[in-house]
């Protein structure tokens, strides 16, 4: 048995390190493959999962490191660096960090989501994102992932 932390445990460590405003971990009663198919399909699914997001443009291909552009419903654009691996997704812009992780668990899936703001001089923007990402957003996010995975 490997002693290395699985992706969900790993995301939990990053959430602690980033003092993340949003971190949620839940068991989804659907197979891992179906759940992760939703999470990993960033350009098609992320706008369904994040309410203020209009589009998330990611270059096609299997590269584990990508540049992406998020377009908010407000028109605000933000460039992200993306790290994608099986059960693991980490996205970072100048202002915010987002992450998702999943592992199979007893026929279902343990799923985790993280949202954090980065230290920045742009306090009002940070406050806005903090508000958008905080609190109950985590539970709602996992709920939407579950809905989207059921549709597959």
């Amino acid at each position: 048995m490997s002693n290395d932390p699985d992706p969900v445990r790993r995301l939990r460590v990053l959430a602690a390190g980033l003092h993340a405003g949003m971190y949620r971990e839940e068991r989804i009663p659907l197979p891992y493959e179906r759940v992760w198919a939703v999470a990993a399909d960033l350009s098609a699914e992320l706008p369904h999962l994040v309410p203020f997001l209009h589009a998330f443009q990611v270059p096609a291909g299997d590269a584990d490191r990508k540049q992406a552009r998020a377009v908010a419903r407000s028109g605000l654009r933000e460039d992200f660096e993306v790290r994608l691996a099986p059960g693991w997704c980490l996205m970072q812009s100048r202002l915010i960090v987002g992450g998702m992780a999943a592992v199979p668990e007893d026929g279902g899936t343990r799923f985790a989501v993280l949202g954090a703001t980065r230290p920045t001089a742009l306090r009002p923007v940070q406050w806005l994102y903090g508000h958008l990402l905080g609190g109950r957003r985590g539970r709602a996010f996992v709920g939407r992932v579950t809905e989207r995975a059921r549709l597959r």
Partner: protein
């Protein structure tokens, strides 16, 4: 962020990542996590042999939660050792029944090694399994990490005399088992 140069010493590579991670760079933090996990695992295995995944996870959580408080990024590994030993001892103490450590790990305990083949007799393993967790921690720091008694005492927050007596008792337990 990609700082993993071939020529850089491990602590220099870590220090650059620590600085970036302290500034809230999640990608640097992720790389730092990859870099430090094997070391944390290596420390946890002999101290908490029955709970390695939990000891590793709790140590990593404590390390990254406290990362912002680390003043000197070059001191990262020493600080990780302090935090990890504390967490591993705490996790090992939670377990009611203590299990023998992996012989391969025990064989690494420097001068306690019985022969060149690295295999420990089962009675020696039994002796080690019966050692209190704190004694195991002392053995790891002294024999695996090569710290002197004063450094071990400071790290575990006990007087040097306590370290000496634990070390003495741990070693004599082994000698008795071997000489039988």
């Amino acid at each position: 962020m990609d700082i993993q140069g071939d020529s850089a010493e491990p602590w220099e590579t870590a220090a650059a990542l620590v600085r970036a991670a302290q500034g809230g760079d999640a990608l640097a933090m992720d790389e730092l996590l990859t870099l430090v996990t094997p070391y944390v695992t290596w420390l946890c295995r002999p101290i908490a042999p029955h709970d390695v995944p939990d000891a590793v996870q709790d140590s990593l959580l404590a390390v990254f939660k406290g990362l912002r408080t680390l003043r000197d990024p070059l001191a990262f590994y020493g600080w990780v050792r302090t935090v990890t030993v504390r967490e591993a001892v705490r996790v090992a103490r939670r377990t009611a029944v203590e299990e023998p450590a992996d012989p391969a790990d025990l064989a690494r305990l420097g001068e306690l090694r019985p022969g060149t083949d690295g295999e420990l007799p089962s009675d020696v393993r039994d002796v080690l399994a019966r050692l209190p967790v704190q004694h195991r921690a002392v053995l790891v720091l002294r024999e695996l990490e090569g710290l002197d008694e004063a450094a071990v005492a400071e790290l575990l927050g006990v007087p040097t005399g306590t370290v000496k007596s634990r070390l003495h008792r741990a070693r004599s337990s082994f000698r008795k088992a071997w000489s039988r």
